[in-house]
Structure formats: structure tokens, C-alpha cells
């Protein structure tokens, strides 16, 4: 019924729509009583989470970063530079696309996709790296280091370093460098050096450990460009700040396209940067249900998953107190997910807080559920999503079908009239090999080669 209007070019979107979605009776109402706002939490603590569980050697660098960030965010020159690069380099604002054929599987609810997949480098990651690279320049640092799992944040960091003429070193688990050889080549094409991490479990968490070790030794001229809204203060609040543009745009776009706020927003959660960027704009809208979908891997009963909030316990890792997958001794448990971007055994501390107070519902989505949604979006919308984002797509269908089962949305609206925004955090080009193997699309020889590559 609502036509998708042509995209406005810049920020001059309508701001006068009434907030038709604000019922004040949703599940969020209780905790909002007596509280002005959940937005713009500054850290270092989000309830009992966050903080700085870090070696003393790095505290001075964290202080410098915090001071620089606080000054920059209040500096119109800095925010104008961010806006300029977002517009002229990253391609923002990203579209909000109604997925009409995909929505046919959503019990009548209308699903809209926030198209972070259309950003330069193919995901939301660019928002954060541009912001942090500008901060690094303000601090006079000439070298960026980053961790990466499958390579998306590494590619984004290498991109920002190239754009700003900085040296870039990316730490990547040795196993991942073999499995993601093309992304290693992309980073090298962009001028970055990729260091395979051979120690520990050789996964993303070990890449972060190694990046922290590098940072301790080179902190005088090096900025650690952490890729997610986790880690020690000020990283969680700062990374969120650079991603808030996702939710801010989506909130305006949905009001413009539907005349009201959505009934739910959905995002996938690894460390949680795309999710917090999307959620932030809606935290104070009590009528908007918010859902974060963690990687359920083979299933949360199997032990092979990355569902930190669903099954973890509070602990400290990489500088923050947050939900953490850990054993009885406090040793970090290795996470598992078909999606490398969600394969992290903890989660940003603000998410832990939002989970505890009940503002956001966090649920696991298995590899199989995510891959079904992946294929569905490919075939109904002609969009190949990142497997990370496919977790959010699968979750949105669950939410809609749950509403259908109970007759109405959480706020009591007819499902037929319900609106859901899904953050399509990245494009799936990087996942074609994984998906082809999952769906058995490769011919036998190629499949064997791919399988052999996995086992090396």
C-alpha cells in the first residue's frame, strides 16, 4: 500500500511525522519508568557491564582515546567530516528496502531491510573504521592495527588506512587466513600486512589477543581499531556512536515509508556492533520490540554455538565485563558458527545490560535456520545476504510467526499491519563458497577441493 519513495539524497528527510508506534504499553514500558533515556549511554559501565579490565600499560592509551573521542564528537568539524565521508565515500545513507516477496513468509508482516550491504566494502563495518581512523589521525597516530575473523573488518580497516595514508597490520587466525585466502589478498591489495596468528586457538579471540599485544608494544604511534562494540572503555560507546547512523537513518526512513515507527527491529549479534547501531535509535520507543539474534551454531544443546547471552555467564574478556562463554574455571570456551562474523565467545557490554533489563530480547538462531533464510532472501529478493545478516532474517520470520501464533504483536497490533526492520548488515559475496558447500552446489571435484581446504 505504501509506495517506496525515491531516496532523498541527503539528510533533509521529513522529521514531522507523528510517532504512531508509540503506544507506551509495550514490554519496554516498565523499565522506562523513572528513566529519562536509554540512549547515548556513555560508559564506562552499562549497569554491571563494561569497564576497563585491561593491563595498566594500556590505560594511558585508553584515556587518550576517550579524551580525543569526547572532544571530537562535540566538534562540528569532526562530525561534518564523518558525514562527508559517509556520504561521498561509503555511499550513505543506505537504502531501506521493503522485501515484499520475502515478507510472504512472515505471516503477513511487512519486512524492511536496512541495506548496510550496499555500503562501500560491503557491510556496516565501514562506519566504524572511518570514525576511528579519523580519531587516530587526530591523535597523531600513523599506524592502524585490527583483528579480523573472516576478513570483513580487516578489509574495512585496510580500506580506511589506504584512504588516510596510514600503515595497517591485520591480525587473523592462521586457520582463517587459509580459509579466507581471497580476503587476505584483498587486504594486501589495499596495502595492509596480514599476520596469521598461530598461538592459542587461532581464532578471532586469539587475533584480538595478538592485536592487544602489538598495541602494548607500539602504542605510542599505533591505534588499535577494534572492530566491534566490545572491549575496554571507551570502545563500546565509541563504536556504537559511529554506527548510530544506521538506526538514525532507518528510523527516519521507516516513518517516511510507512508513516510510523516499526513494531520490531532485528539484528544479528556477534560482538554486536551492527545491532547496537540499529537498536540505539529505537531504545526509547516503547512500542518498538527489539530483537538480537545470536549464532546458535549446530544448536545450543550441542555446545557448538556462539550464543554468549543465551548461555554464557558474566565474566571479563578483552577488557570488558559482559556475558561470556566460559567453563567452570573461567577459561574462554571456543565459539562455533557457520558465520565467522558472529563467531565470538562474548558480546558487547551494552547488549548484556539491555538483555538484563529486558529492553532487548536475545535469541539463538542455528546455522540451518540462518542458511534457510539466506536462500530465501536470495530467491525472493535477488539479494545475497551475509550469513551473519541471515541470522537476523531468520529471526525476523520467527518473530512474525510468533506474533501470528498469538494473534497480535507484542504491542497488540494486527500482524497483517505489522512492520519489521531487519538490519542487513552485509552482503554475501564473501560467503558464496560456504553457501555453495552448504547447499551442495559444487561439482564433486570442486567440493572435495573445498573440503580439503577446510581441513588443512
Amino acid at each position: 500500500m505504501t509506495e517506496q519513495p525515491p531516496r532523498p539524497d541527503g539528510a533533509e528527510t521529513a522529521t514531522t511525522d507523528p510517532e504512531a508506534g508509540d503506544s507506551g504499553t509495550g514490554p519496554a514500558a516498565a523499565f522506562l519508568e523513572g528513566r529519562d533515556s536509554l540512549r547515548s549511554a556513555t560508559g564506562p559501565y552499562f549497569g554491571a557491564y563494561g569497564g576497563r579490565w585491561m593491563p595498566e600499560s594500556l590505560i594511558a592509551a585508553l584515556d587518550e582515546l576517550e579524551t580525543t573521542f569526547e572532544k571530537a564528537r562535540a566538534d562540528p568539524e569532526f562530525t561534518a567530516e564523518i558525514n562527508r565521508l559517509n556520504r561521498s565515500y561509503s555511499g550513505r545513507p543506505s537504502l531501506l528496502t521493503e522485501a515484499e516477496r520475502f515478507s510472504e513468509h512472515a505471516a503477513g508482516a511487512r519486512i524492511f531491510l536496512k541495506r548496510e550491504d550496499l555500503n562501500h566494502t560491503g557491510s556496516h563495518k565501514i562506519n566504524n573504521v572511518i570514525g576511528q581512523a579519523l580519531l587516530a589521525r587526530r591523535m597523531g597516530k600513523t599506524r592502524l592495527i585490527a583483528e579480523t575473523g573472516a576478513g570483513q573488518h580487516g578489509v574495512a580497516s585496510a580500506t580506511a588506512a589506504a584512504l588516510m595514508g596510514m600503515e595497517c597490520v591485520v591480525y587473523m587466525g592462521a586457520e582463517d587466513t587459509r580459509r579466507q585466502a581471497l580476503n587476505v589478498a584483498r587486504m594486501e591489495l589495499l596495502g595492509a600486512k596480514v599476520v596469521p596468528v598461530e598461538h592459542g586457538s587461532q581464532t578471532l579471540k586469539d587475533a584480538i589477543n595478538e592485536a592487544l599485544r602489538d598495541w602494548v608494544a607500539n602504542v605510542d604511534h599505533t591505534h588499535y581499531l577494534l572492530g566491534t562494540a566490545a572491549g575496554a572503555h571507551p570502545f563500546p560507546a565509541m563504536v556504537r556512536f559511529f554506527h548510530e547512523v544506521i538506526g538514525d537513518e532507518a528510523r527516519e526512513q521507516i516513518r517516511e515509508q510507512t508513516g510510523r515507527l516499526p513494531d520490531a527491529v532485528c539484528a544479528c549479534i556477534g560482538g554486536g556492533s551492527n545491532a547496537i547501531g540499529m537498536f540505539h535509535a529505537f531504545l526509547d520507543d516503547p512500542g518498538v520490540e527489539i530483537y538480537g539474534f545470536e549464532a546458535g551454531g549446530d544448536g545450543i544443546d550441542t555446545g557448538r554455538h556462539a550464543a554468549s547471552i543465551t548461555l554464557g555467564r558474566p565474566g571479563v574478556l578483552h577488557g570488558a565485563r559482559s556475558y561470556l562463554m566460559q567453563d567452570e574455571d573461567g577459561q574462554t570456551i571456543e565459539s562455533h558458527s557457520i558465520s565467522a562474523g558472529l563467531d565470538y565467545p562474548s558480546v558487547g557490554p551494552e547488549h548484556s545490560y539491555l538483555a538484563d533489563i529486558g529492553r532487548v530480547q536475545y535469541e539463538p538462531v542455528t546455522d540451518a535456520e540462518a542458511m534457510d533464510a539466506f536462500r530465501l532472501l536470495c530467491r525472493t529478493e535477488g539479494i545475497i545476504p551475509a550469513i551473519e545478516s541471515a541470522h537476523a532474517l531468520a529471526g525476523s520470520l520467527k518473530v512474525a510467526n510468533r506474533w501470528a501464533a498469538q494473534g497480535v504483536t507484542g504491542a497488540g497490533r494486527d500482524v497483517e499491519a505489522a512492520v519489521i526492520i531487519v538490519n542487513l548488515s552485509g552482503r554475501g559475496d564473501k560467503d558464496v563458497a560456504t553457501a555453495a558447500q552448504w547447499f551442495d552446489l559444487l561439482d564433486k571435484d570442486t567440493a572435495e577441493q573445498a573440503a580439503a581446504g577446510e581441513e588443512q
Binding site: 579490565w53 594500556l58 602494548v216 574455571d329
Partner: protein, 266 residues
């Protein structure tokens, strides 16, 4: 965050005994459970028998961000061999049963949190441990540890670094009991060819901030390093070199190296 000076500090007493003998203290680090629990106990006793004044026992942890490859590999081995945190207390009790040299524990914070700070401290005190060195716990986050360490009479040894501001040095010195651990350089554990030029300044600044005992660790691997640092610090901490010796030659090699390191002080 008051520091009750009245509480007897075992690690301070060990450093003071060395000082009365006219020298700096020698502190040796080894991980618990490496290569296995019995050998880690033997190696620690070998430290005590060869002139080490204070033993530092590390808790193997999955994500040791302040450690270089040698100690990482040792702790990975210990964990792969099935080391459990509850065995730490057996290791400490076995060492303290065989030597009067005090034992402090170096641990990343999550294993302590997981067990419960009070439970961990109670079991450590019962095993005869002297306190904790906490590489990823700064005083800013240590409210619970202040209370618990007071309750159980344990030393709390925080780190200072070349990057620490004067204000942070003061705060950390005030928060610490036993001694202050001065990181000699900006980096992780591991042998270095020479002692960092930053070490002396950190020690001097930490003394100036009020510390009675400042011990230097990171990159200290031979007797001449030990002798150099002993000129300005109250204690010298050796880790990676001892772990490498244990890997290559077992507890005997640890004893031999400890005796050699000790020549740097005599």
C-alpha cells in the same frame, strides 16, 4: 580504599630480608601445572633451593594478553594436559609445605571472578599463598578485591608501566600491598637482549610516588640483567627464561638457572 599497613605482608617480608642482606630480591615465575602438576611443584621448590626469595606461580589462562609466545605455549600445554584452577591451591600448598619462601600467584582476573573472588582468596590463603599479582586488574576495577584481600590478609600486587601517569602511579602505589610490579617496557613477557632504558625511570617514579618496594619484570633473562636492575629496584622478576629452562631441562635446569641468576645479586 584504605591500606591497612598493619597487616603483615609475606612478600614485603621476603623483599625486606634481602634488603637487610644488602641486596635486591630475586623473584622467579613459573606456571602452575606446566609441564604437569608434579613437575611444576618440583620446579618451584628448585627455585627456592637455589636462592630465589619469592616465588610467583602463574595460573594458566586461555587468553593471556600480557604474555609472549614462551609463556603462552607453556600455559596452553598446561591446559591441554588438563590443568584445573582448583589444582592451583594444591600446587601452592605443596610448595609452601616444602619451603619457607613465600609464594604469590599471578593470575588474569576471569578465573578469579568465575570461582568467586572471596572463595579464590580463602583457598589461596588456606594453601599458604601470600597474595595475587593481577596483570589485567587495575585498581579502578578492584573494589571487591580490596575488601577480600583485607579480609584474608593477602597481598595485592598491581602493575605500573612506563605509560602510567603520575596520578595513576600514586593511586596504584596506594592500592598495592607487598610490592609494586613495575613493567620494564611497553610490551609483553619474553626474553630481551637488553634491559629497557625505561625501567629505571618507572622504578624511580614509583618510588617517588611513595612505594616502599618496587620490583621489575619483563625482559629480564640473565644474571647481568639482574645485576643491572638490582642497582635501582628492590626486586628483580624473571619469568620467560625460567619457563624456557623448564621446557628444555626440567626442574633441575630451573634450579641451575636460578642459581646463576642469583649471582647477579651477590
Amino acid at each position: 580504599m584504605s591500606v591497612p599497613v598493619s597487616q603483615a605482608s609475606k612478600s614485603a617480608a621476603a623483599i625486606d630480608r634481602a634488603r637487610q642482606a644488602g641486596r635486591a630480591a630475586l623473584i622467579g615465575y613459573l606456571p602452575a601445572g606446566y609441564p604437569d602438576v608434579p613437575a611444576s611443584i618440583e620446579a618451584a621448590v628448585a627455585l627456592a633451593e637455589n636462592g630465589v626469595d619469592l616465588i610467583e606461580i602463574g595460573v594458566p589462562y586461555s587468553d593471556p594478553v600480557m604474555d609472549g609466545p614462551v609463556i603462552q605455549d607453556a600455559t596452553v600445554t598446561a591446559l591441554a594436559n588438563g590443568f584445573r584452577v582448583s589444582q592451583l591451591f594444591d600446587v601452592i600448598a605443596s610448595i609452601t609445605a616444602r619451603t619457607d619462601v613465600p609464594v604469590v600467584v599471578m593470575t588474569y582476573w576471569n578465573p578469579v571472578l568465575r570461582m568467586g573472588v572471596d572463595e579464590f582468596a580463602r583457598r589461596l590463603a588456606e594453601a599458604g599463598g601470600a597474595g595475587l599479582i593481577t596483570p589485567d586488574l587495575v585498581p579502578d576495577e578492584a573494589a571487591e578485591w580490596f575488601e577480600v584481600s583485607d579480609r584474608h590478609g593477602l597481598d595485592r600486587i598491581f602493575l605500573v608501566a612506563p605509560s602510567s601517569s603520575t596520578e595513576r602511579l600514586h593511586r596504584t602505589v596506594e592500592a598495592s600491598r607487598g610490592f609494586v610490579y613495575a613493567v620494564s617496557l611497553m610490551g609483553v613477557t619474553g626474553a630481551r637482549n637488553a634491559v629497557s632504558s625505561a625501567a629505571r625511570k618507572v622504578v624511580d617514579d614509583t618510588h617517588a610516588a611513595g612505594a616502599a618496594r618496587v620490583c621489575v619484570g619483563l625482559g629480564v633473562s640473565n644474571a647481568s640483567h639482574v645485576a643491572e636492575i638490582a642497582e635501582y629496584a628492590d626486586g628483580v622478576i624473571v619469568g620467560t627464561a625460567l619457563v624456557a629452562a623448564l621446557a628444555e631441562g626440567g626442574p633441575d635446569a630451573v634450579g641451575t638457572l636460578a642459581a646463576e641468576l642469583r649471582t647477579g645479586l651477590d
